[in-house]
Symmetry: D4
């Protein structure tokens, strides 16, 4: 048994337990670990979502897996294996305040695509030009979940939270400089939103927001192996 | 027009827009402002939820409104006016890691009670005695939403997030000392949870967690005045 | 010469130099220092603005100076001596997001009143109920200066900054709990506003915002003793 | 519609609403987004200000737009299209404490140049050699606005604030090391200036300071499309 | 042996080693510990300096030691036993920016008085009224040491550091609010002073600044028991 | 004497005093300093542990010492000279939460290997898949020491602390982004663990954790030169 | 079932699992919760350790339980029920840097007393008077564990860590002001100790340090119910 | 006049005023600014100290000034022009805790060399091997000033402060990782030193420590142009 295989222990029972599969956060994995993980997936015929997969990491994996590894550079995500196209109308919207938020928003769209769940993307509607977001309100108010992606002051989150009845999940973004503090200002702004019931995930965590949306719309409950006793499954 | 009436402008259209009513955060209100607000509510026959209502603030309001102001000391919440009893089985669970988290958890139970929505409360199941939470997993795994209330290391949040498929809303609590940093450690711990799709509200914000749960279970969408065009309502 | 007289050295030439008088920040002054300062003012027939003057501090000064010390409890300001009523239409507006911001907003209104400059106060128009602020936009857009007073997420600041052409001065407020971090979140939010050209003063500093407004509308330049060479005045 | 065009939504009505045009913060834009934005501008015959445009980003755009893109390397600004020369005497001064502050100061001079507004630049007059700034006081005291650009201790801001009656806008700079904390010390120092009415913008934000100056001198109000009802313009 | 006597172990050899006696920081001592310490001093005929001795703590000690305990309320210092009056001209100046800094400045004057070393106190010469400090420069430039006591922006420290050749010791003060961050802004401002060779002690630490001055003027070296081999003394 | 030899003073008596040898933290050493240290070791026939030895640093040393310098790239450790193989059963376990923690865990395994002490390594058993760690509990509960290596929320530390009676040493890891704050969240989480008696070392400090384990299992006491009076040894 | 009984769920199996009993952190418990807990203990004949039990909390419990509740005011600890006297020589030392650290040190001595384990207490040997700690080195070097209790700079921890071979557990203390940052400086100082293998617990956590010592000396392993399979015990 | 000459304004009167010349902090200067400054120095026949001069910056200047620019790579300092050798015995010692502190210590030795003042350098005597510093105490106790250079826990500073009577100037160093927080822990540790009268300069600021030493030993007072009225000199 080599080092990589000893260092990696996939949580193969996760889908059975909670209806969501383990995704691979590539950022701090070694090349050997990544190669080992994809080999495991290929051997067992499983599909897999890879997040924070850098361009060089992707190039290293490509030789072996080009045909089955779909890479999206802006969001640094890879989808390994085939996935089903989404069905039905979108119940989840993803909204960004500025064009710089696109990379995080697309981490969420890709996660939902991997799950086969439809979503709508609305870009660059920050409140400095308030009418951009007001135009979208009727559409957003019909959604079960609105994922609001914003850096800097994060003001768009509160404006949306005061206008729509669905679950609003804020994703703070690490854009900006100085007092933006690498996303902490947007994070704290969302946590103290004057609009009631806004929830928050980690800075730049588009993947987490999408998972939360999958929990909120009931996808995760429906997707677990077995509704009774599943907690003991591995 | 006196000062208090000039300083306060209730968002009367909020329920019509987003299905949630404005609650009154009492902590930083003056006695004159609070009296003015309750008088407005009484005059218009509206009920109202008051949060962070201190014992002395309550005593000051009691003279006028004793019969219709239901006060819960531990959670510092007041419910003004009559509310309907919850119906149907609980789809929302509220779980605490330690007995010190009860005050925050009860802010959430009271908010749900005000909305007439049933919930289950599970107390003191922190992971230092892991079996306490494992005993509850089957029950929690059936819920649409689990509100996880925990201070200090907040480890219970991640354990629950890895065992149930519903939406997990973490409420960090400001208990503890030193490196607990008044709840920031629990907050950051929840934001970086290794379990996918955990969402977070502000420290000690039981009210916000309950509102998010009301959004997630569809209560808010059902409760707005008018599903189409409501965004323009005031 | 007693201790208090040795410890205090008023900047008597300030009005001549920069058109603004020195105000007395009372918070950390001893009773002996405050008494000495007011005695100096009374002896020389000067008026004076006192900020952060607590109720007990006021009571201690009242015995001696009741007739000429006008106290405003909510804003903790005292105006010593007579001041002229404001003239002309208001070119400065002061806007608050919530009723808890009133104490800070009134520190600004009192500072302008002391200077004899008119202003308009618009309260409790935070963006959770967006229509409250949108109703005011036409009026605000005609102002030379809008002082925007807001705690927590401070989102109102960016919304106003995107709708009016005058100078927007944000005053972050230390209300809120947890991630509000005693006003720092509102401060950082204003500093990173997506609306261009918003400026900021210290947390809770209504006095400073009013002084900045007096500089911006040209009051300070008009009020100095001597437009040429005044910098050398003492 | 390609990705970049979907991710970018310019606030074309901004000038009509608030008298200031949207500038393009290039730092976090992708090459595709930048190319799309400039193409839009070229197609519609609009001029445009680009900030934080890195040398490589500029080189990428140059091929297409060399003739009409004026780049200033120290301040990392680009001006796309023709701009009118400034008229009349300078009412705005820009002052730096050290030679390292020049890059930020020039972001402000370029923003004013884009708007066609005159300014004066006074460099390297930090208070360690106090007489450098005292020599300039008479000139600075005649200005409507003084933009004070300083890193490290930011002491120059308070010295100027105590000597001139115009609006003093501090721009903290991220120079220095250790306790300079990437500009936060200068930021906090300006926010707590002992001189009354100093206002502050984000660290290194020369663009924002210039926009605030344009608001303060009435340029923005004069430049909007329509003084009445403009808030509804898009 | 009781608890207090077991918990306290005075460093009786300190004066012999480094020429400075141990002072008693009273803030966190129990009444029993303080009583024990003074009894030890009385029994051995030693004098003693007590810092951060609150009014109630003083009152508790007074019964026993009224005749020989000289208390100064503003600085919260007590001098136990007789001390010699200072001799010769002052080589140390203590300068404050505002009247609120007096309490900290007096902790330094009292420490020097206990050591029998002369000093000069110059109060309330902050740079908002720059001429106040410029008037004092000739006098300050003749001193061996200038202790500069300032809160908030701490700008006075840099101005003095650029005008005098003696050792400049900054004492940041915890006055102010918001961005003053309980003295940290003044601390960081002094650490990043643009004037060369400014040194800093802890926030509010007038005692430490005085001890450093005693080291710098050679008092401590002269005052140790034995210039050779003293390091081994206990 | 060259610069490097003057700048380096090895603590050659450390093993005699405390039973642990000085290791060389290479990160901030110059090439000249490292070369000098290894030459000293070679000349005196001593073995030596090098930590945070980067690949380029290793390459520079390799020319001279290839035969006797055993490098482990993932953990960035070098072992200079021969070491004895470990004897007896493992009394120390090293557990990681994720595959990204392997580099830190291996710094600990290498330190123990250098000391000739056996350990067991258990990888990737974070609590998101709780059953991975529960499977290991019986084995871990028999250990004298469990070193728990975890980043992000650090929840695994508390779960282990509540299940095993040996000393639990947490090593926070700087993986993660945003609210992980480069390991501080995992650090604070471990410091506030709800499980009693968990101890903590610095972020990423696998070396320190191994040293603490060597102290706890009595290795260090047994390894010092002389159990009595050793403190005076140099 | 009343509220308190519902909010409290003691981890009764903890001693069986990990050899340490659950102690009651009283600080944030309500009077009703504390009364309920002691009643449970009395009913089941168990003894119990209470930490951070304030004087008023103790007085409230005293009426019912005076005979069996041993209170120690300085350390705010209560021992409920009988405990066995310690046997054998001390293998654990507890050392403090200053007399202000006594309250934290005694929380550790009381925890060990509750467990029936001997310890030695050495007070007030901070490094400003270095010889105080050097006198104790021979004794400390014979201990299995040294608990080093220190606030402010925490320098004593590193000095001890470089002189003794046993496990050194640092307890940072929240004494001091300004840059002491309520114990964080001592905490960070201990975490970055230049002496190898120092471990750390939370600020002021004397209880945690004692528990860690009980783990390190093997008490916890010996004290669990059943060495095999105990992890499954509840 | 080109840009660089406009951006730079040397404080030519500094030596006359305070006895210390302006040094050039090169880190954030552009190549054009540096070239302009050296040309000014060459033209006027002045010598000059350059700090934080990177290797590439030095190479760029070398072409023009190789003969008269003495570069020291480790400390990143350049001395332009001839300087006199130091005279007399050293009254200033510079002590480092570890070999990584050498770069900062040498910034101080070079600054003193530029001033022609003798000093002694004692390296690598951190307290983990306490006897290394104790060996040096007799020598250090005879110095007027001891500059103590230390990173991480900074414990050496307090040990020295308790053993020598001269002025102790701590220079925190940004070595270390995790809780070392880029030198802030060493900084805070020095500020809260339990030894009385320790003073501190900014992290890594060897230059500032040397300047403070030059002030403390009277060099600066002796070196100014004119002891009376110099404050008005420019």
């Amino acid at each position: 048994m080599n080092d990589a295989s000893r260092e990696v222990r996939l949580d193969v029972g996760r889908r059975a337990r909670i209806g969501l599969e383990e995704a691979v956060l590539c950022e701090t994995k070694t090349p050997a670990q990544l190669a080992h993980i994809l080999k495991q997936a290929a051997d067992s015929g499983r599909s897999m979502l890879l997040t924070r997969l850098s361009e060089p990491q992707f190039q290293a994996l490509r030789a072996e897996h080009a045909a089955v590894l779909d890479y999206h550079a802006l969001s640094q995500t890879g989808i390994f294996g085939a996935v089903a196209p989404p069905e039905g109308p979108a119940r989840i919207a993803i909204v960004t305040a500025g064009s710089s938020d696109a990379r995080v928003a697309h981490e969420a769209t890709r996660t939902l695509a991997y799950a086969g769940v439809a979503c709508e993307l609305v870009c660059d509607v920050g409140v400095a030009g308030l009418w951009r977001v007001l135009e979208q309100v009727d559409r957003l108010a019909e959604m079960d979940v609105v994922i609001a992606v914003a850096g800097m002051d994060g003001a768009m989150v509160s404006v949306i939270g005061g206008l729509v009845p669905g679950l609003v999940i804020a994703v703070p973004v690490s854009t900006g400089y100085g007092a933006a503090r690498r996303g902490e200002t947007a994070l704290n702004s969302a946590l103290t939103s004057c609009s009631p019931g806004v929830v928050v995930v980690n800075i730049d965590n588009g993947f987490g927001a999408a998972c939360a949306a999958l929990r909120a719309v009931g996808y995760a409950r429906a997707n677990r192996a077995d509704p009774v006793g599943a907690a003991h499954a591995r």
